[in-house]
């Protein structure tokens, strides 16, 4: 069976007044039904633009310039706009770091969730409101009937993110894109939300594209991991292989520089460089020859162990 999502050679560029910015420079990955793929990288690496490209929501002056995005067999880059609107919400839902990105501040919670159900599922207003209450209950919101009548500002950050998750689930999507879903939340609430997402995933066979910079969140939630740097995937492997047997110097650097609870070291290891601007390849330039560019070209992703791909030259 083909994978649920199959992204091939995706390139998303920004045509800004200051010049061309290659945010996504040729990315390939797949997600199977019910699987969680984590897309990991530091700010500006192109992980969020990859996600927005999947939904064809790249903001101006950005454009998908090349690639294919097969979702359940159809290339999303070639479906008509109207069909794409049905895919968003119905088939693929997205949640963001800041829940207010997806909530309307002047509408009651109940109306917002019910709207999704009326539009995408054709439910009657009364039935939609009832379903909305059930969804709130499912995502762990206490006193859901009362919450339906409240406005987003009356809720805490954690509760708002639960509402957004309820909204995303309203249409039983087959793929959930979660872009830093817990980064804005406190650690105890973050743990509760990730716990909820894990439960929902196993309950509904829902695939997840989890975008994060937090390697702890990755270790506890992902099945497979793609490490991104400067618009490219550098390493792509099952979660255990990434943590126990990282092969790319960048992945090793990332893992080495995080302080780990209960493992106090005198000094943190650092990745070279002070964080270059967009288009900077400084890290790769300083890599060992097996990984560094040759005549301005970067190596391709090569399979070094079953299912474990690394961007490096042949031995």
């Amino acid at each position: 069976m083909p994978p649920l999502l199959d992204v091939r050679n995706l390139m998303t560029y920004f045509f800004t007044a200051g010049g061309l910015v290659k945010a996504v420079r040729g990315v390939d990955f797949t997600i199977e039904a019910g699987e969680t793929l984590a897309l990991v990288g530091e700010s500006g690496c192109g992980k969020s633009m990859t996600a927005l490209s999947l939904l064809r929501l790249v903001p101006e002056p950005g454009r998908i310039v090349e690639g294919q995005i097969f979702f359940a067999g159809n290339d999303l880059l070639h479906v008509p706009d109207e069909e794409m609107r049905r895919v968003r919400g119905n088939q693929i839902a997205m949640i963001f770091q800041e829940p207010m990105t997806s909530l309307n501040p002047v509408l009651r919670i109940g109306e917002q969730i019910a709207e999704v159900l009326r539009l995408h599922k054709g439910q009657s207003p009364a039935k939609a409101l009832e379903t909305a209450g059930e969804l709130l209950h499912r995502v762990g919101i206490p006193a859901p009937k009362q919450r339906l009548r409240e406005y987003p500002h009356q809720l805490s950050g954690g509760m708002r993110q639960r509402v957004v998750i309820a909204m995303a689930l309203a249409c039983d999507p087959r793929l959930l894109i979660a872009d830093e879903p817990t980064t804005a939340l406190d650690v105890t609430i973050q743990a509760q939300i990730m716990d909820l997402l894990r439960q929902l995933k196993s309950e509904r066979e829902m695939a997840t594209l989890l975008i994060t910079h937090d390697l702890g969140v990755v270790a506890e939630n992902a099945d497979r991991v793609a490490i991104m740097y400067n618009g490219l995937i550098l390493e792509y492997a099952p979660v255990r292989a990434i943590f126990n047997d990282p092969r790319h110097p960048y992945t090793r650097g990332l893992l080495a520089c995080i302080p780990k609870l209960g493992k106090k070291r005198r000094r943190l290891t650092t990745v070279n460089g002070q964080g270059g601007g967009n288009g900077s390849l400084s890290f790769l330039d300083r890599c060992p020859p097996d990984f560094a560019p040759r005549q301005g070209n970067l190596p391709r992703l090569r399979e070094v162990a079953p299912g474990h791909l690394v961007r490096r030259w042949e031995d």
Binding site: E42, S43, S156, G158, M159, D186, V187, T188, I189, Q190, A191, Q192, M194, D195, R198, H213, D214, L215, G216, V217, V218, A219, E220, N221, A222, V239, R240, I242, F243, N244, G253, L254, L255, C257, I258, P259, K260, L261, G262, K264, R265, R267, L268, T269, T270, V271, G273, Q274, G275, G276, G277
Partner: protein, 329 residues
């Protein structure tokens, strides 16, 4: 060890609402009788979730906010009782590094002037001497001397935080209060800045009050750690002891919630239920009792005393000796 600064029963309440006629004004106890000592040369980590009062505590010590009650003893004097004129020369000893390197630097000032300003204000250097001193500071924090005439927008987040560190360092303070200094930075940059702060501490014999919400960073940098919950310090201990064997249920819950970068660890673990209650209406007795797995009847009635459980390990819990049952690793 010699104390550098002592905080005693520091308290601060904010009022909200009441702006309109007839509207009720509500009281929020942001900092509630907080006490601790900073010893010379140590790093004390102050950790807690948003709204727990950790940043307010830092600001009260430097009198960026005025406290309602309490004492801050420094060099034999209570800082809270000093007039602005008496306070000014002392500020040289107490500097701050802020979280957001984007908003804490004046965008219209050159980086060299930003770093040099405290030296000018305190009359410590001027002219070519000032320029030389600033250049040396920039180089010491890992920036090129040539950056002197550039503006903040030309720098990355990590570089701006280095500018903020150079500015704090300029007047050779004895204490630096760092309020979430690395939480806005990418992982790799975070590690560089943490290392820099540790190097500078050695070189300049600095004492740090390091405020952060990230428990891993706090463990790494701190000699001792204080955990805050709803305005109160609930536990204070040497870092290693607190992380290995927390004596307050809230510290235990926080540590259990941290995602650990180890895929071989079981993914499902017991989590503390519910959210932090509103600070406008905190629970009676021990603020943590409604969420606490150890709570009994007394916890809702009596605020537990903050007592030494042995070896400088302080905790405010009626059942401190039981804590540890729910620790997951």
């Amino acid at each position: 060890m010699e104390p550098l600064l002592e905080v005693r029963d520091l308290s601060k309440a904010f009022r909200s609402g009441g702006g309109l006629p007839g509207a009720p004004s509500r009281r929020l106890q942001a900092v509630d009788r907080v006490s601790f000592t900073l010893f010379k040369g140590e790093t004390l980590g102050l950790v807690g979730e948003s709204g727990c009062g950790k940043s307010t505590t830092g600001r009260l010590i430097l009198r960026l906010l005025e406290a309602d009650e309490g004492q801050v003893l420094f060099g034999g004097r209570d800082l809270l009782k000093l007039s602005p004129g008496e306070m000014r020369p002392l500020r040289r000893n107490l500097q701050m590094i802020f979280q957001d390197p984007y908003s804490s630097l004046n965008p219209r000032m050159k980086v060299g002037d930003i770093v040099g300003e405290p030296l000018r204000i305190h009359g410590l250097a001027r002219g070519p001497e000032l320029r030389g001193e600033v250049t040396a500071l920039l180089e010491r924090v890992g920036l090129e001397a040539g950056y002197y005439d550039r503006y903040p927008h030309e720098f990355s987040g990590g570089q701006r935080q280095r500018v903020g560190i150079a500015r704090a360092l300029a007047v050779r303070p004895s204490l630096i209060i760092a309020d979430e200094p690395v939480s806005a930075l990418d992982l790799s940059i975070q590690a560089q800045v943490v290392n820099l702060l540790q190097d500078l501490q050695q070189e300049f014999a600095l004492t740090y009050l390091f405020i952060a919400h990230d428990l891993s960073v706090i463990e790494h940098i701190s000699d001792r750690v204080a955990v805050m919950y709803l305005g109160r310090i609930v536990e204070l201990a040497p870092a290693e002891a607190l992380y290995r064997a927390p004596r307050h249920p809230y510290s235990e819950a926080l540590l259990n919630a941290v995602p650990v970068p180890d895929p071989d660890r079981p993914r499902n673990r017991p989590l503390v239920k519910g959210e932090v209650p509103s600070a406008f209406d905190p629970p009676s007795g021990c603020h943590f009792h409604p969420r606490c797995p150890y709570a009994q009847e007394i916890c809702g009635r009596e605020r537990p005393a903050f007592v030494d459980q042995g070896n400088g390990h302080f905790a405010a819990c009626h059942f401190s000796e039981q804590v540890g049952k729910f620790r997951t690793f």
